[in-house]
């Protein structure tokens, strides 16, 4: 069964460093998402992406964040200058349709630790 994959599973970085989190969505999916979950808090929407551009972003997704689909398979989240409060589990998701009833398929997450 096709699945969303994410690498790395765990990333440790120092404050101020740039990190890139990688996701490979399911191959025929068209809509892509990033969510994050800070330890002990709810899963929060960060950004949605369709047709090579951001569809919607949350207040969390400030100028330090960017997303890219550099080729036909990868979907990346970049944090330019990490802060301690960026430590969280980051989930990538994808779906084929843009309908609200469409299931979003999630990856296993990348745990980002900023020291």
């Amino acid at each position: 069964e096709p699945e969303v994959t994410q690498t790395p599973s765990h990333q440790v970085t120092q404050m101020g460093q740039e990190v890139i989190l990688r996701c490979v969505p399911i191959s025929n999916h068209l809509y892509f998402y990033w969510y994050r979950q800070i330890l002990g808090q709810k899963v929060e929407f960060l950004v949605s992406f369709y047709n090579n551009e951001i569809s919607e972003k949350s207040e969390i997704f400030d100028d330090q964040f960017s997303v890219e689909r550099p080729d036909g398979s990868n979907f990346t989240l970049k944090i330019r200058s990490t802060k301690l409060e960026d430590s969280a589990m980051y989930f990538c998701a994808s779906t084929y349709q843009g309908m609200d009833s469409a299931e979003q398929y999630f990856g296993p997450g990348t745990r980002l630790t900023v020291t």
């Binding site: 699945e3 969303v4 599973s9 809509y31 998402y33 969510y35 808090q41 709810k42 899963v43 929060e44 929407f45 949605s48 569809s55 919607e56 949350s58 989930f91 998701a93 843009g98 309908m99 609200d100 009833s101 469409a102 299931e103 979003q104 398929y105 999630f106 990856g107 296993p108 997450g109």
Partner: protein, 114 residues
Amino acid sequence: AQSVTQLDSHVSVSEGTPVLLRCNYSSSYSPSLFWYVQHPNKGLQLLLKYTSAATLVKGINGFEAEFKKSETSFHLTKPSAHMSDAAEYFCVVTGRAAGNKLTFGGGTRVLVKP
């Protein structure tokens, strides 16, 4: 605006007994509602979804949920818990007016005792 409240952060059941996970939602439009499950070191997996069709929704692994608009609830149940049901469960709401972004509840961690 939309929001989800999962009323129990932890639920402990004995194997073979019923499971009830409670979820209340708030939405200013017709919502779509989901339950996702996350096993350790795995991605979030869809259990079931409600999308304005039948109010009683059956999902995978024997789970079902009932949409009650008057109570703004979408509780998840299973008649008989299995050890493999130990996981974290998330109630989620979305809708076309929300740009299809998912809004998650806080999660309920289920422990199944032998």
